[in-house]
Structures are given as structure tokens and as C-alpha cells.
Symmetry: C2
Subunit: 199 residues, 2 copies
């Protein structure tokens, strides 16, 4: 709502990204935001309120972002279109892995949290908008079951994101932000899209 609340919610996102849900305390947010101790507790009286504020802030930030990064106008009816779309999604993933890294981590943490706190689910309609975009794409491409296919496609993209954020494998991925990373992501998404389209 107010500036100060946004400031605190942003700090809360950083805290969660850095120390997990467990580290999310009123005092930790105060410290992260550089405000006098007690401030967070004043604006978000209970911890539940703090979590809800954080989730709401994530949703708002996504709303702001989605208007600047629209992909659903990219019709796909030829190989060139597929490549163009893959380029766009790779750029988006790259963004989520670098400047948006904290937000991505916080989002996954909140999604897990929403598993046992249904009230978060309504705020965090995660993937609904991406899914709608994906639905448009696969529908235009002639999918026989756009709901199912778009859901799978979004799940794949989330999987790619999660893997790069938290994947702890032997095979090390190139650091996000590099051309090689972008290339891998583009290639992977292209494969997923093609697989879904001509499944």
C-alpha cells in the first residue's frame, strides 16, 4: 500500500531469498531495509500479515513486469517464429536468473508455503498469466488440448528456472547472464515448445 510497506516488503523478499522462509522475522526485515527496529512489526503486526504482504508484493511486481514483457502476440506458424519466441523466453529466463534472482527464489519459497496455506494461493495466482500467454501460443499453433499443453509448457519453463536457481548437479551450468547460458535456455525451451506443438 504505502511506500514504506513496499520498502519493507521488498526487503522481506531479499531476506527470504537469502535466508529462506525460516529467516523471515520482523527484525531481520528491519535490518535488511535499514529502518529502525520495530518498524516491520508496526506495519505488519503479525507474521501472517508479513507473509501476505510479501506475497502480495511479489504479485504486484509480476503485474508490473508482465506489461513490459508480452510474448503472446508472437504467433507461431513457422520455424522462424519458434526461434523468435525461444529468444524471447530465454531473455526472460535470463532476467529472472540475474536481476530477478531474489524474486524468483522468494516465489518458489512462497509457492511451497502456499501448499499448506491456502489463503496465499488466491493472492499468488502463480503462472496464471504466463499460462494464458502460453495457451494463446499453443492454441494458435493448433494444439488439440490447449489447457493441457500450455500447462505442460509453463511447467517446463518453471523447471528450467528452478534447475538453474537451485540445481545442485555435477554437470555445472554456465553462469546466468552469459551468452552460453542464454543459448542453453533458448535451445531447451525451443525443444520443449516443439515437443509440445508437434506432440
Amino acid at each position: 500500500m504505502t511506500d514504506r510497506m513496499d520498502l519493507l516488503a521488498d526487503a522481506a523478499i531479499e531476506v527470504v531469498a537469502a535466508h529462506g522462509m525460516r529467516g523471515l522475522t520482523h527484525r531481520a526485515v528491519d535490518a535488511e531495509a535499514g529502518v529502525p527496529p520495530g518498524s516491520t512489526s508496526a506495519y505488519f503486526r503479525t507474521r501472517k500479515a508479513l507473509v501476505e504482504g510479501l506475497v502480495q508484493r511479489l504479485a504486484d511486481l509480476d503485474d508490473a513486469e508482465i506489461t513490459t514483457a508480452r510474448l503472446d502476440h508472437l504467433a507461431v506458424d513457422g520455424p522462424a517464429d519458434v526461434d523468435r519466441l525461444a529468444e524471447g523466453v530465454a531473455a526472460l529466463l535470463d532476467h529472472w536468473l540475474t536481476v530477478g534472482r531474489s524474486r524468483s527464489l522468494a516465489r518458489f519459497a512462497c509457492l511451497l508455503e502456499a501448499t499448506h496455506h491456502p489463503e496465499l494461493r488466491t493472492i499468488l495466482a502463480h503462472g496464471d498469466r504466463p499460462r494464458a500467454q502460453a495457451r494463446a501460443v499453443v492454441a494458435l499453433a493448433g494444439s488439440t488440448d490447449p489447457d493441457r499443453d500450455s500447462r505442460a509448457l509453463v511447467a517446463f519453463v518453471d523447471g528450467l528456472l528452478f534447475d538453474r536457481l537451485a540445481g545442485a548437479g555435477v554437470t555445472t551450468a554456465p553462469p546466468p547472464g552469459t551468452p552460453e547460458s542464454r543459448d542453453q535456455l533458448r535451445h531447451a525451451f525451443r525443444a520443449a515448445l516443439l515437443g509440445v506443438l508437434r506432440g
Copy 2:
């Protein structure tokens, strides 16, 4: 190590699945395991030890499971093989979503945790074994870059799993365990595999 430790670690997995990492306390584990209060604190003196024990237990359980569910012997050189493999993976996913639901949730929570606790990463070499299996599959199928492709494939499968566990979309998925759910998973994995193979 000992029985009692395994019992407690298993209870810890349930606690994390039900209440998240934040709910993981010595006393909560005591309650979940139905042991006298203080027991967990005696076996895992510090909280760090408790989460390490939990992660180790997850890894051990996976080890036990992997020997019973091998998929890498399934060579893929024709459409029939692809279908067979997709059937196997769908069954595995179904298993992870039903009887193994808590473990799957706990695993994702721990992966997120490992982001800021490197010592967990060594224990939880998540996806290494699946990745090795996937690598064998894509290599046999003639991939030009098996490391990259298998990584993508595993990421896709994880994405599917995460989506069914924590996805909070409008498009509701059929409940896990039903034939429709299996069918969707089979279809989705098939698409991913085909996309990766003939990328």
C-alpha cells in the same frame, strides 16, 4: 544411522512437508514421531545437525528407490520405445505425487535451502542419478550434446512434479493417482522427450 535416527529423520520429513522448513523444530519432530519430548534434541543436538540428518535421509531413501526403478536400460530407437519410457516416467511421477508426496515436498524445500547452505549440496546431489539415466537415454538416441540435453530433460520432469505439487493455477489438474493424471503426465513427458531428441 541407528533406527531411532531414521525414525526421527522420517518424522522430520513429514514435518517439513506439512509445515515447511519454518516448522522444523526439535519439539515438532518429537511430536510427529510420537517419541518423548527431548529425544530429537538428544539425537540431533543442533538444528543444523537435524536438517543435515533429514537431507541425508532423503538421499538414502532415493538411493533405495533408484535401485528398484531403473529406466536407463530402456533404449530409445523407435516410437514404441518412447512410449514405453513415457509410461515408466509417468508411473514414477505418479508415485512421487502420491505415496512419495511428503518426500517430494521436503526435497524441494531442501533444494531451496541448499541455495544458501552449500554443505547440503554435497549430500543432496539431487538429480545426479536421474541425470545420469537421462544422459544414457539421450546419448543412445544420438544427442549431439548429451549433458545439455539430459539436464534439460531432468529439469522438465522436475518442473512437471513441482507444478503438480505446488502449482496454484486456475486450470486445475486431475488429482494425482487417477488415470487422467497419469495420462497427462505421460503425454507431457513424451512431448519433452521428443522435443529434446529431435530438437
